[in-house]
């Protein structure tokens, strides 16, 4: 009993890491399967990051669409990140976070565009930000935000 109390710090820490690993990886698995399913559904909807030129009268409406996603790191990934930051190298633990945020943001933007009846999105842009004011401070969990925005257009199909 005394041993447990003496090492309470360590036990809490290990518990948080285990919780972070179990919860974090199950959330990631579910998110990825949702992303893949929705990407497949929206496969036919065109998105491009090129500035597009259309012939006169071809475009009906043009409007801004945007989608953003915020993904938080978990305690396990944070530990991996801290350890990695000592020796350097690719922070593999964070790569999937940014990837998920990016794809989720684009998916949401596409959903918005499709909901408004657009035929395609041109001029797609992505921006990222770390949020949680103290993202890089000690003891705080940071999150990454990705916002995707572009010009949705409807085409006069005649």
């Amino acid at each position: 009993m005394e041993t447990i109390l003496n090492n309470l710090n360590l036990i809490v820490f290990v518990g948080l890491v285990a919780l972070g690993y179990v919860a974090g990886s199950s959330a990631e698995r579910r998110h990825y399967s949702s992303i893949i399913r929705r990407e497949r559904e929206q496969l036919k909807f065109q998105v491009m990051n090129a500035e597009a030129y259309f012939s006169e009268g071809r475009v009906g409406r043009a409007f801004l669409v945007s989608g953003s996603a915020v993904i938080s790191i978990d305690y396990f990934k944070r530990l991996l990140g801290i350890l990695r930051s000592i020796v350097g190298g690719r922070v593999k633990a964070y790569e999937s976070l940014v990837d998920r945020a990016r794809r989720e943001a684009i998916l949401r933007m596409k959903e918005q565009a499709m909901g408004k009846g657009a035929h395609m999105v041109v001029n797609l842009r992505l921006e990222t930000a770390t949020i949680g004011n103290a993202a890089n401070q000690k003891g705080r969990l940071g999150s990454v935000e990705v916002i995707a925005y572009g010009t949705a257009i409807t085409l006069n199909l005649s």
Binding site: T3, Q46, E95
Partner: protein
């Protein structure tokens, strides 16, 4: 131009590999680095500490501890004087100017501080029933001085604390992990030191009082209060029962006589 949507089957943006494998590599590597640092400090301490002149130690001890309140306890000091009187003439311990301080604290422990100062906590003093038991406690601490354990622990502790702070930053979760790991290593070593100090204390007790009575008394009282042996795997001291059996074995091997302890209750408190 015809637009042909294509599904991407692979994701180049996320590296493969299981995260637990990565954790094992990173954590294992760092643990190895810390173990190497500890081992290095350990070796340096083993080489340097026995060569630190006692004068230097006394000087440093006085510098470090001059502000500490000194509370003398005449009866404990008398036991200490008695033990010091029976030290062999060529013992390096003779060059120390020992003093005993009683600290108002319920901790059941005693400390050997650099420069020849012994601190006995009130919690331990309350457990002592006879002069011989007090002599065993003091003899044990003198053993630490004789083996210079008090300097070893100090040197390694400081070195590791510095190394951990430099690698991980002052108080991060990783630092506490590393400190715990080092603490484990330290404690295993510390238990060996305690056993050796027990041996020294027992010999001194017999030299001073002619018999080994009271050598195990304090430990048997502690054994009643302390928990199971599992709790002692990472403790700084061995389990009291282990210490008792080691002492009894030694008493039998060396053929020491066990006489009655000189009971003088109230005297030490």
């Amino acid at each position: 131009m015809k637009y042909t949507p294509k599904e991407l089957s692979e994701n180049v943006n996320v590296s493969g590999g299981h995260p637990l494998v990565e954790l094992a590599w990173l954590a294992g590597g760092l643990a190895a680095i810390i173990a190497v640092i500890w081992l290095g400090l350990f070796l340096v301490a083993e080489l340097v500490i026995p060569r630190v002149p006692i004068d230097v130690e006394i000087w440093a001890g006085n510098r470090l501890l001059s502000q500490q309140a000194h509370r003398d306890n005449p009866s404990v000091t008398r036991v200490l004087r008695h033990l010091l009187a029976v030290l062999p003439g060529d013992s390096p311990l003779r060059r120390y100017n020992f003093s005993v301080t009683v600290a108002e604290n319920d901790t059941v422990n005693a400390l050997a501080l650099p420069g020849g100062r012994i601190v006995v906590f009130l919690g331990l003093l309350k457990q002592v029933r006879s002069e011989n038991e007090m002599a065993m406690v003091l003899g044990h601490e003198l053993g630490h001085f004789a083996h210079r354990d008090h300097l070893r622990g100090l040197g390694r502790g400081l070195g590791v604390a510095l190394a951990v702070a430099m690698i991980f930053g002052r108080d991060s979760a990783a630092a506490s992990c590393a400190t715990n790991l080092v603490h484990g290593l330290e404690m295993r070593y510390s238990q060996r030191q305690e056993r050796n100090a027990d041996v020294f204390g027992l010999d001194l007790l017999v030299a001073g009082y002619g018999h080994a009575g009271g050598a195990t008394g304090i430990f048997s009282r502690l054994a009643g209060e302390s928990g199971g042996k599992a709790a002692y795997v990472l403790a700084s001291h061995p389990h009291p029962e282990d210490r008792i059996s080691a002492l009894k074995k030694m008493i039998a091997e060396k053929g020491y006589r066990i006489g009655a302890g000189q009971c003088s209750p109230g005297k030490v408190n």
